[in-house]
Symmetry: C2
Subunit: 147 residues, 2 copies
DNA sequence: CTCGGTGCAAATGCTTTGCAATGTC
DNA sequence: GACATTGCAAAGCATTTGCACCGAG
C-alpha cells in the first residue's frame, strides 16, 4: 500500500482539527495497521507493536485507533463477542461481512447493488450516511459440509 | 401481540432441546420482552421486571435473553457502545437500522430488495444465513437541521 | 512555554461464573 | 431423586480514566 499517502491523510486530519498533534505513537499505530491483513483487535495490534520494539501503551493504541477511524483509515466493527474488531480501510473498497457462527470465520463481500439501495433508503429518510455495515450471521460453506 | 403463541414457541424450543426446563423466570422475561417497545438493554429489562414485582436476578435475565434469541423471539444487536441491545422479534418483519451518531436515535426500516440481494449473495458464496443486520451510521434528519 | 498526548495502573461497566439452594421433570 | 436453573456476589475482560510527566508546536 501507499504508506506515504496514508500518512498524509492522517497529517491532514490532525492539522484540520487545529489542536491535535502528530505524535510518533500515532504514526506507529498507523504503520502497524497498514501492515495488517484482515481483522484484528486492539490487543493483538498492541502486542504486535510491542514485539516490534515500539514503545506504546494500550491506552494509546485505543486512542489512535479511534483517531484513525475518524479519518477513515480504519473501520471498526462489533461482531458477536465483546471485542471490537478493526481493519484497515485505506485503499480498500466498501464491503460487508458474513460471519460463520460455528468456526468464527469472517468472509468479506462487495456488492454495489447493496450500496445503491442503502443510498436510496438514506435519501428517502433524509438520513446522512457516514458508514455502514451489513453483517450476515450463519454457517459458512466449509462448516455446512462437516454437518 | 399473541402472548400465547410466543409462549408456545418457547415451550416447543425447550422441549426440542430435550433437557432445558420451563421455568417461571424464563416466561416472566418473555412476557416483559413482549410488552417492550423498541430497543432495550438487559439492565433496563431487569429493572422493569423487578419493579413489576417479579423476582429474578440479572444473571437469569441475561440467560433468558440468550435463550429467547435462540428461538428467534428476540434479536440482539451491538451498535456503538459496549451494551448489547435487544428487541422483540416475534411477529415483526425483518428490518434494519439507521443509527444517529449525534443523538443516538435508532430508526428502523424495511427493504425487501435488500433482503433479496442478501439471499443472492449467500447462495453465491454457499453461506447459510441465519440472521443479518445492516447498520447505517450517520446523522438523522432532525440533527441535520440543527447544524 | 503551553497544553495535548502518553504511560501506567486503577477504575468502570457489561456480562459471565462459581457454588449452594431450589424446583422442574 | 437427579440435575438443570436460580440468586447472589465475585470474577472477568475490553475499554476508559486520572494524573504526573513528556514533548510537539
Amino acid at each position: 500500500m501507499d504508506i506515504q499517502a496514508a500518512h498524509d491523510v492522517l497529517t491532514k486530519h490532525l492539522k484540520a482539527s487545529g489542536r491535535q498533534r502528530a505524535t510518533p505513537e500515532r504514526f506507529a499505530v498507523l504503520d502497524a495497521v497498514l501492515e495488517s491483513q484482515g481483522h484484528f483487535d486492539a490487543e493483538s495490534l498492541y502486542y504486535r507493536l510491542v514485539s516490534n520494539g515500539v514503545k506504546v501503551s494500550k491506552a494509546t493504541v485505543y486512542n489512535a485507533l479511534d483517531l484513525l477511524q475518524e479519518c477513515g483509515l480504519v473501520s471498526k466493527y462489533r461482531f458477536v463477542d465483546s471485542t471490537s474488531r478493526y481493519e484497515k480501510a485505506f485503499g480498500r473498497p466498501h464491503h460487508h461481512h458474513m460471519i460463520c457462527l460455528e468456526c468464527g470465520d469472517i468472509l468479506e463481500f462487495v456488492n454495489e447493488k447493496l450500496d445503491r439501495i442503502q443510498d436510496e433508503v438514506c435519501s428517502e429518510k433524509n438520513f446522512k450516511s457516514q458508514s455502514s455495515s451489513l453483517q450476515i450471521f450463519g454457517t459458512c460453506s466449509r462448516c455446512k459440509k462437516k454437518e
